[in-house]
């Protein structure tokens, strides 16, 4: 019993923390953006208040809506909870992280996206299918880029399991990896595109002609919308956690070392706060691009990821350092 509890404790802690903190992260980013734009902002707790408000309302569902429409928010939410459990956030050796490697993780994110797109098309409104199509356009371009981002660290540690990769990177002594820097830049670009952040989509807009993600959720209300909003916040959390796990995992608790959990949690919180502020800065200094420029943006992300991999092959995994042989000066 005791061993069983110790085995699952980091997992439970990680998942519960991520679930509870996801709206807080969203609120923190919005607050940072407000500060950067000289507004006072609505406070970091606003997403929780929105969720509470939505849960108190009565759901309105279109008459022609099928069961898929009701099911989709919960499927999306379930996918995100599983994803957030798979990514090692406070300990490298969480039980569920063995359930799926990075490729399955990308598949999990795709499953949630497919259900959302289908649900958006289900009711048959123009905006729903418009948003779904745009989302799928972006997804088709973002997914290969995301996979390529994963391949560089996977090649480094020789495994596609996130736990192994993170443990490898966290334990390695510090050295400069240009390939990882490239992969990180590509990952940030994919993160922006996949989470409907500014260069691609404006999370604050309700102008139908420009929105992508919001257009898909227009038909939802009350508890369904609350679940979707929470899933959306969780998705951002998943991406943040992946980014932290792959590129700055320092401070994460090693396998079995559950005394380090409080410190790891603290380190994670600091990293999340910094990353959220960074995202807000990034969003404030950039302008939304036209939707037809988005393929260019994501092609650049793909390019950076591939370059990272090529550089890893060419420079970092190459022959051992040659002994210096100085030729006589010409």
């Amino acid at each position: 019993m005791n061993r069983f509890a110790l085995f699952w404790l980091p997992q439970l802690m990680a998942t519960a923390l991520a679930l509870a903190a996801a709206p807080l992260l969203m609120g923190w980013i919005n607050q940072c953006r407000a500060w950067l734009q000289n507004r006072s902002g609505a406070g970091v707790l606003r997403p929780y208040r929105v969720l509470r408000k939505l849960l108190h309302k009565d759901a309105v569902i279109a008459r022609r809506a099928s069961v898929l429409f009701r099911l989709a928010p919960y499927v999306q939410f379930g996918c995100m909870v599983l994803a957030v459990s798979i990514v090692p956030s406070i300990a490298t050796d969480v039980p569920l992280s063995r359930a799926a490697d990075v490729i399955a993780l990308v598949g999990l994110l795709a499953l949630a996206r497919v259900f959302m797109a289908l649900a958006a098309m289900d009711v048959g409104t123009a905006f729903g299918s418009l948003g779904a199509r745009r989302e799928m356009l972006l997804a088709a371009l973002a997914e290969p880029a995301l996979l390529m981002v994963f391949f560089t660290p996977a090649l480094m540690s020789g495994s596609t399991a996130l736990g192994t990769i993170v443990a490898d990177i966290a334990e390695a002594h510090f050295s400069i990896y240009p390939s990882l820097a490239f992969a990180a830049a590509a990952f940030v670009m994919v993160l922006l595109a996949e989470n409907a952040r500014i260069p691609i989509d404006n999370p604050a807009t309700h102008l139908e002609l420009t929105m992508i993600h919001e257009a898909m959720t227009l038909e939802y209300s009350a508890r369904h919308l609350a679940v979707i909003e929470l899933a959306h916040a969780l998705k951002l959390m998943v991406y943040f956690l992946i980014g932290i796990a792959l590129f700055v995992p320092y401070g994460i608790a090693a396998a079995g070392d559950w005394h380090a959990l409080p410190l790891a949690t603290l380190a994670l919180a600091v990293k999340l706060i910094a990353a959220g502020a960074g995202l807000a800065v990034l969003e404030t200094v950039s302008a939304k691009v036209r939707i037809f420029r988005a393929p260019e943006f994501l092609a650049t992300a793909f390019l950076l990821a591939v370059l990272g991999m090529l550089i890893h092959f060419h420079l970092e995994s190459a022959l051992p350092a040659p002994e210096v042989r100085i030729e006589s000066a010409p």
Partner: protein, 218 residues
């Protein structure tokens, strides 16, 4: 890997990144900034190699690179585009994603091409030779895909950067006389190109070099 080698790898990756950024950059002014940045990376890389190998002449060539490619040439180009009033010019590029994919293929090709050379070379910088080759090919690609005169000249200068980088990686730089000669050539070349720009614009009212294809003798 030693710190020196890590730094050299870092600079090499930056070279490649800047080469790709130039390939996809639309604004003429940003292109010049990128060119200056590439020169700065090149100078830093040369200094690191010089410090590691103790080759004195590399310090001189680093200083020369800094003077020419980070200060003088960008200054001349900035002045040129101001005088030509194309400072905010935005060039329409056809299909950037495709160009970038072609660029990746070129880089893979360059990496493969240099494997036998790398196997023979004994320099600490030998593994960056593939990247130097890639930068040269990417600059070539930029020369092909650009229509306006000024970006083409910047592509030409970027190619020279790549060649210089290749020389540093393969054999710790060229002899001083050759380097000085090339530096002078590049400087004079840019000045002559500057005069050409004005002539091209006077004749065709535009800097689009496709007009040159219709030149005929009467």
């Amino acid at each position: 890997m030693t710190l020196t080698q890590q730094l050299i790898n870092l600079f090499a990756s930056l070279m490649l990144l800047i080469a790709f950024a130039m390939l996809s950059q639309r604004r003429v002014q940003s292109l010049i900034y990128l060119f200056a940045a590439q020169g700065a990376v090149l100078a830093l890389n040369t200094v690191v190699v010089a410090a590691h190998t103790g080759q004195k002449h590399l310090y001189f060539s680093a200083a020369l690179t800094l003077l020419m490619k980070v200060i003088l040439l960008p200054w001349i180009l900035h002045r040129l585009i101001r005088r030509l009033a194309i400072r905010w010019d935005v060039e329409t590029l056809i299909n950037i994603p495709t160009t970038m994919l072609v660029g990746i293929v070129l880089v893979v090709f360059a990496f493969n091409l240099t494997i036998p050379i790398v196997a023979l070379a004994g320099t600490i910088t030998r593994s960056t030779l593939g990247i130097a080759m890639g930068s040269v090919l990417l600059a070539f690609l930029m020369l092909i895909t650009r229509r306006k005169a000024v970006p083409q000249v910047i592509g030409f200068l970027a190619m020279e950067n790549g060649l210089f980088f290749a020389a540093t990686s393969a054999t710790y730089g060229m002899p001083m006389v050759v380097e000085l000669g090339i530096a002078l050539d590049v400087l004079v070349g840019t000045l002559i190109f500057g005069i050409f720009f004005f002539h091209i614009r006077e004749t065709f009212d535009s800097l689009d070099i496709h007009h040159l294809e219709r030149l005929k003798e009467r």
